[in-house]
Amino acid sequence: MSLASARLVPSFARPPSRVAIVRAQSYSLDLGALLFQALREFDLPLRGKKVLLKPNFVEPDPGGVVNTHPAVVGAARESFLRLGAGSVRVAEGPGHERDTEAIVETIHLRDYLGSLPGLFVDLNLDEVRPVPLQTRVSKLREVYLPKTVLEADFVVSLPKLKTHHWVGATLSLKNMFGIVPGCCYGWPKNILHWAGVTGSILDINSTVRPDFTIVDGIVGMEGNGPIQGNAKPCGVLILGDDPVAVDATCARVMGLAPERIDYLAKAGTLLGHLKPGKIRQLGESITSVRTPFAVLPSFQKLVAS
């Protein structure tokens, strides 16, 4: 996990990032095999590491549109264990719904992970510690963060490919709002909105930058996301070792211009790569999987020309 580890590197000094696009038309495929194959390309330093998977679980939605699909979470866990991780836990702190148990039971997470106690952690109710933020873009100066996140060796952001009615798109960087504990800040974590959403996304990610990202784009959400939008089959998993590069690639797949998404444009200066020339593309090309997502009228300006 990248807490205070000089991950704020100017783009010109940062080596190229790697992003892979893997076709996956359905959750019933052998996603474990697909992900394992794709992850091997990255040669990640996982031996004996405590890996933490951070999916995007928002509400009890049996339809599988709002939350990261549990099949993707299960496949990621299986893959990281096969790659030598010492342990792989799953943790989330939903932003609106206090009853995290209701979410994981509704989406049948147990069917993909086995028994959840001890394996799944509700970050909203975890033990917390104060952590000074590594940047000061928002009005926040420090936040309390969960011990489970702070003690992980390797944090994986596992978002769903969705539009967002406040920031345009919610991907791996925005997904990290879920590590901010509700027990300190409430449901929703309204302090992040009042401190400035864009700034908060940057400050949280500068402090706990995901070491890896896997985006569930098999079925995404378009329109009035992240909760009330429409299902958008896209048929891809997008993964990489730089959350900014992965999010930029996701935006391009969605038909959006990442440099017009405010928080992504700013993240591209210090947190990762935004420019295609700095992103080494693996697997499928963006063009071959591009699936334009509908956006709210107020975000038409984000649509790539």
């Binding site: 509400e59 147990r110 109710l125 409430g186 009035n224």
Partner: protein, 328 residues
């Protein structure tokens, strides 16, 4: 929802089959009390104000089988030492800023008796704590259309989760529950005005069709989807106006959603709310027993405390019904 007779006894028997009884819940809470007197969200996790307040209220509700004599005084002492100089409580000791937990800590202390000063200080902090959406800057921003997609009357203010943020349904409901529980002699004149404003705010934030979510009833023209927790808290806070159409509409939504609830805290809360309104609902026990066998509620102190409070509501209703029979 099919009507069930004798739900309390059925609850206890069925939960027993899931190896979860009222006694085992009470024992779990007693055994989970930290050496410092408080409770964490899970056994052996650091004491938090919210978990301690609910655990204490749950054990206080066990009048027929009270916990060991030292349990509640130790919890009360922990809450008192955690109170901040301004009368508020933070989420955890060591944090410097009071927040929504002030409502439940004040209420838990009030229910113990003998902590009047601390309770009144907590209440006064709440009465002085205004959410930020009424500020000049905020109103200016809204008038410029920044949040045009959200329908709400922002002059109606309740309480926020943390200072400097907006009103939301749950912290508003918690503060109202405290104000409704305190005797009139505790309440300064401004309490009535604040209470009425918060009640209006809750009704304003109700989802079209009934029920509440965290506080956004309509976003970009789409009706917000109600959620169990906020709906149950709002209904409990507004129980004085039980006959209002909004309450009844929201109760209908909660009753219809009850059978599909998959989490122990939501289930217990919904049950408590529906029973408080006198609704007959399917027994709590079978669904609880099933969840418990599946995941042991993740050993959540909050879940167990709310289950005990739900059973306590059941007993209270049963007692009322018995009293009504005797007097009829």
């Amino acid at each position: 929802m099919p009507a069930k007779k004798g739900g309390g006894e059925a609850n206890r028997k069925a939960v027993s089959s899931g190896q979860l009884t009222e006694t085992s819940c009470r024992d779990f809470l007693i055994a989970s009390q930290n050496p410092d007197g408080g409770w964490g969200y899970y056994r052996a996790s650091p004491s938090s104000v919210e978990a301690t307040s609910w655990a204490l209220m749950a054990l206080t509700s066990q009048s027929s089988a009270p916990p060991p004599a030292e349990t509640r005084p130790r919890a009360r002492a922990w809450l008192l030492q955690a109170q901040l100089p301004d009368g508020s409580w933070a989420a955890f000791p060591g944090q410097r800023q009071g927040c929504w937990t002030t409502s439940m800590a004040s209420l838990a202390l009030h229910l113990q008796g003998g902590s009047t000063d601390a309770t009144v200080q907590g209440m006064n902090w709440l009465l002085d704590a205004w959410p930020a959406e009424g500020s000049l800057w905020w109103r200016l921003r809204h008038s410029l259309g920044r949040s045009a997609g959200v329908r709400q009357n922002s002059s109606l203010r309740g309480w926020s989760w943390t200072p400097g943020t907006a009103s939301w349904v749950e912290p508003t409901s918690h503060a109202l529950l405290l104000l409704c529980s305190l005797p009139p002699e505790f309440l300064p004149p401004r309490a009535t005005k604040r209470r009425r404003l918060a009640e209006r705010m809750l009704y304003d934030r109700m989802c079209p069709g009934g029920g509440w979510n965290s506080g956004n009833p309509l976003v970009y023209g789409v009706a917000g989807v109600p959620r169990i927790g906020p709906t149950a808290w709002a209904l409990l806070a507004l129980i004085d106006q039980a006959e209002r159409a909004e309450n009844q509409q929201s109760l209908e939504w909660l009753a219809s959603a009850y059978g599909g609830i998959r989490g122990a805290t939501s289930l217990a809360l919904a049950y408590r709310c529906l029973r408080a309104y006198g609704r007959q609902v399917a027994p709590l026990a079978p669904a609880l027993g099933e969840l418990y066998q599946r995941n042991r509620f993740f050993e959540s102190v909050l879940a167990v405390a709310w289950i005990l409070l739900a059973w306590s509501e059941e007993r209270s209703r049963a007692g009322q019904a018995a009293g009504e029979c005797l007097t009829s």
